[in-house]
Symmetry: C2
Subunit: 310 residues, 2 copies
């Protein structure tokens, strides 16, 4: 088992300027696992659900190689539920309802067979759960990627810093990078975050693309330009799943592989933005994402600047 | 005379989180002309100043090939003055003082020798002044580039739309593109603006780079990542000057040349952001901007994505 994915598997009710979706399957780990399944044949999901969770989704995950030994189902309880409403800019959003349900007091268990995993994706979640997963591993994996958000910086910074110190890649958005580092320049923010532990920093900028920082090098990928964003929920998780899925499939953590993984993550995230829920990323075809990958290459292609004057 | 530049030549008092600058030389045309002077040996400046304007700046412009037959100096009057204060994000800003002074009632005069110019840069200014300049030209130039801002959309939309209908390239920022087109997607905004006249649309996104749209093609350049932005005043004008200066020096309006011109504009603008006023863009060396151009190429360089799975 080379890849394990930790995160929520849940229900979301979402309102955006494009419409509404009521109690669709969501959660960070759902998006991550589906995105990664386009690259790896096997992975292990560590999460928790209630008895209200649809079996059809689990069957679909299983058919895509997502192992569920580490997925705990608690009878008599309900799955995690989030309801939110996006502002017109599709960036700001208001949380209307958060029902933790099965997440309360959940202690993750990494299945025996997955404790030697080489690639570990810690999806956005309580940092104490993320720490518990790391503590159950046999040795430090080839690559541990951590995704988190400002919510945990606000209420659990100490635990979060402990996880950050133990991961190879920290993945956050630009505002969060500024909050965590107290730096306004993203270059300086990345430098400050390196000092907290992670050799590699990924800063997600939504429609403005993503940046990768490692060993003094910097790579930038634009986002795939969309005519219309229907729902950005899960875009960051999809990005994370594409990123680690690509690296796990190559079995590589090289700079070149990571740059490609940023492109893959960006492209996959663009599909998630085009519809509510996980269906678009689940139904995605290889030819579709490859076509967008080619488009993104062309988007930044330019001959070296030559001048007559100067 | 292959390039003419129209815009303000003025004084600015600016406060940013980094400090203050009191009555430094600014104005769209000052930045444009200085940026373009790194590429073309000759250009003609169309603007207006008062008797308070320092001769030293004009002498410096002249030494860089900026002709001033079309620069009117009105005795007994004062130059245009703007005072503003930037918010912490260096995007929002409050205008504290605007003294139009010599701009009131100014009618631009294009010198005889410049009426056949092949490249025309209409810097941000009252659209009736921009129209007057176009009306004085012998024929439609090779390329007319228009820079404008939301202020003119708010108070002079009819005149602005008349100018927009007559130019080849419209250059605005992302918020302005959305305002002008009533589209939230930049792809759709560019498509709507094409229908207003311009074959080519340039959308400036500040620290997030710039996009170029033409004939169904799209090009994207990131901004040069900076450790610190001291003052963004004039960055858009510098971008415009680098863009048209590069094209005028090549004598080309091809898609490839325009893509390079976007890169050149982005790089030059990064220098303007690093200090108050025009001194940084004036003192810039070729080796300095070329080095950043190479960095920007490397920043987006990635091998094609290959996969083992799929």
């Amino acid at each position: 088992m080379s890849l394990i994915v930790v995160g929520t598997v849940a229900f979301d009710s979402i309102a955006t300027p494009s419409g509404k979706a009521d109690r669709v399957v969501g959660g960070a780990a759902s998006y991550i696992a589906l995105a990664a399944s386009h690259f790896v044949k096997e992975q292990e999901l560590i999460s928790v659900i209630g008895e209200d969770f649809p079996n059809s989704f689990l069957t679909m995950l299983e058919s895509r190689g997502v192992g569920q030994t580490g997925l705990k189902c608690i009878q008599g309880e309900k799955s995690f539920f989030w309801e939110g409403s996006y502002h017109d800019d599709l960036i700001g959003r208001d949380t209307l309802v958060t029902e933790l349900n099965v997440l309360k007091g959940w202690e993750p268990e990494v299945p025996e067979k997955a404790r030697g995993a080489q690639f570990v994706m810690l999806g956005n979640l309580d940092p104490t759960v993320q720490l518990s997963v790391l503590n159950q591993l046999e040795r430090h994996p080839e690559l541990v990627v951590l995704d988190t958000m400002n919510f945990w910086m606000d209420i659990a910074l100490d635990s979060l810093l402990k996880v950050i110190a133990r991961v190879d890649v920290l993945m956050i958005n630009d505002d969060e990078a500024r909050q965590l580092s107290s730096e306004s320049s993203l270059l300086l923010a990345a430098a400050a975050i390196h000092k907290m532990g992670p050799r590699t920093v990924v800063i997600k900028k939504g429609e403005h693309g993503a940046m990768l920082f490692e060993d003094g090098n910097c790579f930038y990928s634009p986002a795939y330009p969309l005519d219309k964003v229907v729902d950005p929920t899960g875009a960051g998780d999809t990005f994370a799943g594409g990123f680690i899925g690509h690296l796990a499939s190559l079995g590589s953590t090289s700079w070149e592989a990571k740059k490609q993984a940023i492109v893959v993550g960006s492209i996959l995230a663009s599909f998630t933005c085009e519809a509510f829920g996980t269906e678009r990323i689940a139904s995605l075809k290889k030819t579709e994402w490859q076509q967008r990958t080619k488009y993104l290459r062309e988007l930044v292609r330019v001959n070296p600047v030559t001048t007559d004057e100067g």
